[in-house]
Symmetry: C2
Subunit: 116 residues, 2 copies
């Protein structure tokens, strides 16, 4: 099945031998969960709102996002589980803020392979 190189070219186009997987399955699953958290338009706008505001209350997310309160709660939980935002409870309200470097760290883990 993998005689493409042998029949098209004598030498491997990039390195040598079989391609080496830089990311193992566990790392891939971990990384994918971060991207999955941003794979929804509502969550992207939510994350954007949090970044733009620096700190924002859950109750102020409901109106601009146009979703019900349980749905907002659901999305903040997913973003928090992915480590992209963090919430602090003050009195009756929860204030959300972005975790610095978390998104950059995820993309770096992928892009780092190009530097080799």
């Amino acid at each position: 099945m993998s005689d493409a190189k042998a029949s098209e070219a004598e030498v491997d186009p990039c390195c040598s031998g079989a391609p080496v997987a830089a990311i193992d399955e566990d790392d891939a699953t971990q990384l994918a969960s971060v991207f999955a958290a941003l794979a929804d338009p509502v969550r992207l706008r939510l994350y954007d709102l949090v970044c733009a505001a620096g700190e924002i209350c859950s109750c102020d997310l409901q109106e601009p996002l146009g979703r019900s309160q349980p749905t907002i709660s659901h999305h903040t939980k997913i973003l928090a589980d992915a480590g992209l935002i963090t919430g602090e409870k003050r009195g009756r309200w929860v204030w959300w803020s972005a975790v610095p470097g978390r998104l950059a760290g995820a993309t770096d883990a992928l892009q780092a392979v190009r530097a080799r």
Copy 2:
């Protein structure tokens, strides 16, 4: 519902007035599709293999990823539709390569908001 600021503090903690959404719904949907393409462990490793190899044949993806041929074809299509990889058909084989700057462009669109 949004009297949190008024009751907890007199001044808005970051800017002033209602928070401004930096990303509109259409942009968010477009951006989310790029992240959705990377939100699967198999596709992440596939993208990683393509980046690491520079150029790689579909038939050489099947074995390291441990998925059937239709599944590999499905995933390459999703990554290609998202603009992350591009394929060139040569003879019987399709050679895939990463689209430079595509992933960085997506993350920049999100992170740019922090620079404001």
